[in-house]
């Protein structure tokens, strides 16, 4: 019971912050910003003749998953949680992302 109480009072749960404010907040923010700007550059500045739409789309999906990784792991703090919680959340999400990517790539066959 004492164990539970100390856990609920936050000493075990909240833990110490991991890394400096720059590492935890501003570096992920800068990465998100740079990746988003890169997406706009790909969309607007690079003509389709230089880089076919198919390659662009693949790149967009990779960059989107990279952004999702930084939001979930740093902003939502998931990478500092216990392994059990990480797997409980990430494994279903990985299947979802795979299904979305598969549908974008394969659904065209339904058009016949």
């Amino acid at each position: 019971m004492a164990d539970l109480h100390s856990a609920q009072s936050g000493h075990e749960v909240a833990g110490e912050p991991h890394g400096t404010v720059y590492q935890r907040i501003w570096r992920p923010f800068l990465i998100l910003l740079v990746v988003t700007v890169a997406e706009f550059i790909i969309a607007l500045a690079i003509p389709d003749s230089l880089m076919p739409k198919g390659y662009k789309n693949a790149l967009y999906i990779v960059l989107t998953i990279a952004k999702a990784f930084y939001i979930v792991s740093f902003f939502m703090h998931l990478r500092f949680e216990r392994a059990g919680l990480i797997y409980a959340i990430v494994v279903p999400l990985a299947f979802i992302v795979a299904l979305i990517a598969a549908m974008f790539a394969e659904a065209g066959y339904m058009a016949g």
Binding site: M76, L99, I100, M103, M110
Partner: protein, 238 residues
Amino acid sequence: MASSTPSATIETGTWAGGKLPFGASFGKLMMWFFLLSDAFTFSALLIAYAVIRQTHQAWPLPDAVFNSVPFLHGVNAPLVFVGIMTFILIMSSVTMVLAVDAGHRYDKKNVILYLVLTIIGGLTFLGCQAWEWTHMIADQGVSLSGNPFFDPNNPIYFRPDGSPTGAIQFGQLFFVITGFHGFHVFSGVIILILVLVAAIDGKYHNRGNHYEMVEKVGLYWHFVDLVWVFVFTSFYLL
């Protein structure tokens, strides 16, 4: 009559009760599982979008649809406005992290400051979305039953009765998916306002759990940002 004897052994393992197997409090764990179920909802919508879009040759070009900015009438500025919206949402995520961080330090003043900034960011995003929807519906004529983005020389853009249409589903999918996301932003703003009032009241300060409620609403807010990352890619880039 013999009274029931207490069990000889008391379980003491991680999962025997009275412990936190995931190292997270009940509320935080349930928030994570709620967000996972919400992710299923959004992915159902996005998977439907992917399938419907891939089975239709006639799909509006994002650069042609999303090319307007408020106060710059008639200026062709593809994706500029949605870039501003994306930036606002990322910034509100950062102020949310800063609020959570201040909560860990029991810094009530900064918790309030950053919660207010996050609420302003959320409301600004909602305002931008309201403008975008109004522009699409009133000026461009996108609706649930059709849109004006079609090529008159291409037969795939015409219904059997001869009336022109872009892919009808474009408007349906756009309004349903961005509307569902906007509804989440709206709910998030309401929850943030409730948390702000309680934080000003000193309610979380006295709980002695490092402002965990701010952390939980923060998880929700970052999830909304996360969904926008996928909505943005699906509708504006692909």
